[in-house]
Symmetry: C2
C-alpha cells in the first residue's frame, strides 16, 4: 500500500469508554475523527486525523438547505486473537463513489479512503468492543459545505469518518420483528436517489416509520413508488423471503439500495447451493405463498442489524405470522455464518475479512 500523507493530531485527553456490554447504537463516539477537504480546482486535500470535535459551518452551507451528501456504514470487529478486522470495506468505498456520482459529488480515491479509515481505527483500536454482538460502527460521510443558496452542486466538500462502539441495532436482537406493509408513503422511485446512500432517502422514511411504531411495528416494508405493488426494502434493510424451498429477493432496480450484506447473503446461498433468485416480488405473491403454506421465512439484511428475521407482516387489515414467529433455519444459518466470518470465529473462504494491521 502506498504511504499516503495524513496529518495526525492526537487527543491530549481520552474520553471515558462506555461499558462494552451495555452499548446502544450510534450514541457514543471515539477520541478521533478523519477529515479531508475538497476545493474545486484543487481536488481533495488536507487529509488529517484530529480529536473528535464539533464541525463549524456557515449557516448557508449547502448541506443545510439542499442535502448534497452521501454516507457509508460498516463495522470493525475484534477477534479472539485481539486483531481488529473489517468486513468487505472495499465494497463500501465503491458504493460511496457510486453515491457520489448520483449526488454530483467529486469521487474519492477508494484506496486512500480505505487507508485513512484503517489508520483512524488503528489509532482508536481500544474502542473496538470485544463483547459478543458488539462492534465498532464506522461512518464515512461527505457533505457540501459551500455557503451558497443557489441550487447547484457545491464547489467545496468535506469528507469525514467517525467511529462509534455499538451494541445490537434492534432491541430485539436476532429475534423476529413485526413489520407493517406501507401503503401510503414511498421511500424512493426509479430515477430518484433510492440506490444512492444519501440523506434524503432516510428523511423520506421517517414519517412512515413513526406511524408504524405508533401501531406497534418495528419497521415498514416499502413497496415500489409506481404501482405500490412490488416489494422494495424493509426499513433501511434489503429483504429476503424463502418460498417453497427457494430464497427470493427483489432485483436491483434503481430504487433499492445495493446492500453489501445483501450481496454477501446471495454469495453465501450460492456457495451453499441453496436456490436463490433475484427478481420482482409482489406483496400479493407473498400473501398468496403464505396462504398456500409455502412462505417459510422472511428476513431483512443490513450492516447495522446483519440479519433481522420478520415474524409478522401486516397488510390491508391482514396479519400473517411467518414460521410461527420464530427465526427460520436459513436466517439463523446466514446470521451465524456472516457474524462468524465478520468476527473471525469462522473460516473466511471468500476473503471478505480485512485486517486493520
Amino acid at each position: 500500500m502506498k504511504d499516503y500523507q495524513i496529518d495526525v493530531q492526537l487527543s491530549t485527553t481520552k474520553k471515558e469508554k462506555p461499558a462494552f456490554n451495555q452499548l446502544s447504537f450510534g450514541t457514543v463516539f471515539t477520541d478521533h475523527m478523519f477529515v479531508m477537504d475538497y476545493t474545486k480546482g484543487k481536488g481533495w486535500h488536507d487529509a488529517r486525523i484530529i480529536p473528535y470535535q464539533p464541525i463549524m459551518l456557515d449557516p448557508a452551507a449547502i448541506i443545510f438547505h439542499y442535502g448534497q451528501t452521501v454516507f457509508e456504514g460498516l463495522k470493525a470487529y475484534k477477534t479472539k486473537e485481539e486483531e481488529v478486522v473489517l468486513f468487505r470495506p472495499d465494497e463500501n468505498m465503491k458504493r460511496l463513489n457510486r453515491s457520489n456520482q448520483r449526488l454530483c459529488i467529486p469521487e474519492i480515491d477508494e484506496e486512500f479512503a480505505l487507508f485513512a479509515l484503517k489508520k483512524l481505527i488503528s489509532i482508536d483500536k481500544d474502542w473496538v468492543p470485544n463483547v459478543e454482538g458488539t462492534s465498532l460502527y464506522v461512518r464515512p460521510f461527505i457533505f457540501a459545505d459551500e455557503p451558497y443558496l443557489g441550487v447547484s452542486p457545491s464547489d467545496t466538500y468535506r469528507f469525514m469518518i467517525i467511529l462509534s462502539p455499538v451494541g445490537a441495532y434492534y432491541k430485539e436482537g436476532i429475534n423476529p420483528v413485526k413489520i407493517a406493509v406501507e401503503s401510503e408513503f414511498v421511500r424512493a422511485v426509479k430515477g430518484g436517489t433510492g440506490n444512492a446512500k444519501t440523506a434524503g432517502n432516510y428523511a423520506a422514511s421517517l414519517k412512515a416509520q413513526e406511524e408504524a411504531e405508533a401501531e406497534g411495528f418495528s419497521q415498514v416494508l416499502w413497496l415500489d413508488g409506481k404501482e405500490h405493488k412490488y416489494i422494495e426494502e424493509v426499513g433501511s434493510m434489503n429483504v429476503f423471503f424463502k418460498i417453497n424451498g427457494e430464497v427470493v429477493t427483489p432485483e436491483l432496480n434503481g430504487s433499492i439500495l445495493e446492500g453489501i450484506t445483501r450481496k454477501s447473503v446471495l454469495e453465501l446461498l450460492h456457495y451453499w447451493n441453496i436456490p436463490v433468485v433475484e427478481r420482482r416480488i409482489s406483496i400479493d405473491e407473498i400473501f398468496q405463498a403464505y396462504h398456500a403454506g409455502e412462505l417459510e421465512e422472511a428476513f431483512g439484511t443490513g450492516t447495522a442489524a446483519v440479519i433481522s428475521p420478520i415474524g409478522e407482516l401486516f397488510w390491508q387489515g391482514e396479519k400473517i405470522t411467518i414460521n410461527n414467529g420464530n427465526t427460520g433455519d436459513i436466517s439463523k444459518k446466514i446470521y451465524e455464518s456472516l457474524t462468524g466470518i465478520q468476527t473471525g470465529n469462522h473460516e473466511d473462504p471468500f476473503g471478505w475479512r480485512v485486517k486493520v494491521d
Copy 2:
C-alpha cells in the same frame, strides 16, 4: 401582536455591504441571524438574534446523515417610500409547518416565527437593496441536530433565519430560457417528499440539472415518477402553459411543491377573468398543442425568479420554440403585477404586502 421574547445581541462590527446594483444570488449574508432551539419535553426555547456566525455541530448530528430538515424562501423589498415589505409571509410559515409534519419535525408557532423574521429584518434593514430587480432573500430553515446515528426523528432541532441581499436568480432575468424535458431522472413521486420543502428533493435534482446545463439548457422540466408522462415542475419552480387562450398548470398531486407564487398567479388570473385550470397535463399534450399552433406561452413561477418564461422546450430529439422565443403577454403582465405588488409600486388589492414593523 404579542410581545414575544427574543434576546438580541447586536454585532459590534458591521460587514461591508456589496454594491446593490451588482448583486448575485445567495452568496452574501447580513450582519445578524435568528436562532431558536428545540428540546424534546421542553419545546422551542432560547429565541435569539445574534451576529451572523458559523454553526457548531457534532459530526454525528442527524442533519449530516439523514437529512431531517425543512426550509422556506421569501423576499423583502424596499418601497420607494423606504418602507420594508414582505410578500405573503404567512403563507411561508404555514407551508413550513406542513413540511415539518412530513419530516416529523415539531411545528413552530407561525405567528411567533413571523414576528422573529420581521424583527431580524428590521435590525438588518439597511441590507434591503433598493435597486430594481433586487430584494432581501429570507431563508428560514430547521434542522435536526441531535448526535445520533440511528434512523429516527431527532430529539433536538435548531430553527434559524438568515438574510441575503440578492439580484436576479437567473442571469437571463425575465428573458426566456431553454428547457430540456427530463426523461431519466425523477424529482419526486406521490408518497415521497415532493410537496415538502426539504433538502432531499433538491439533492435529487442536481444530477439532471448538471446534465441539462452541459447540453446548454437552463433547467429541466420534470415529469411524474410513475408514468414519465405528466408534467410536474420546471427546475425548482411550478410551471404554467397558455394553450389556445386558456392558462393551465399541473394540479397539486402530492409530489409537486405548493408554490406561493403559483397560488398568487392563479389568484391574479382569476381576478383578471383569464381562464385558468389546474389539472393533469401530459408532455404529449404540450407538443401536440405546439404542432396545432395553440401553445401560446409557457413560464415557471417561484420566489427566487418570480416568473421565468420558457423560450424553448426540448424532448425526445425535438425542439419547439414557444412564442418565437419571446416573453409572452401573460407572462409579462403577471411579472409586472407581482413585482409591482411586491415592491410597493402597484396597488395591492389582495392584501398580500406585509409591512416590516
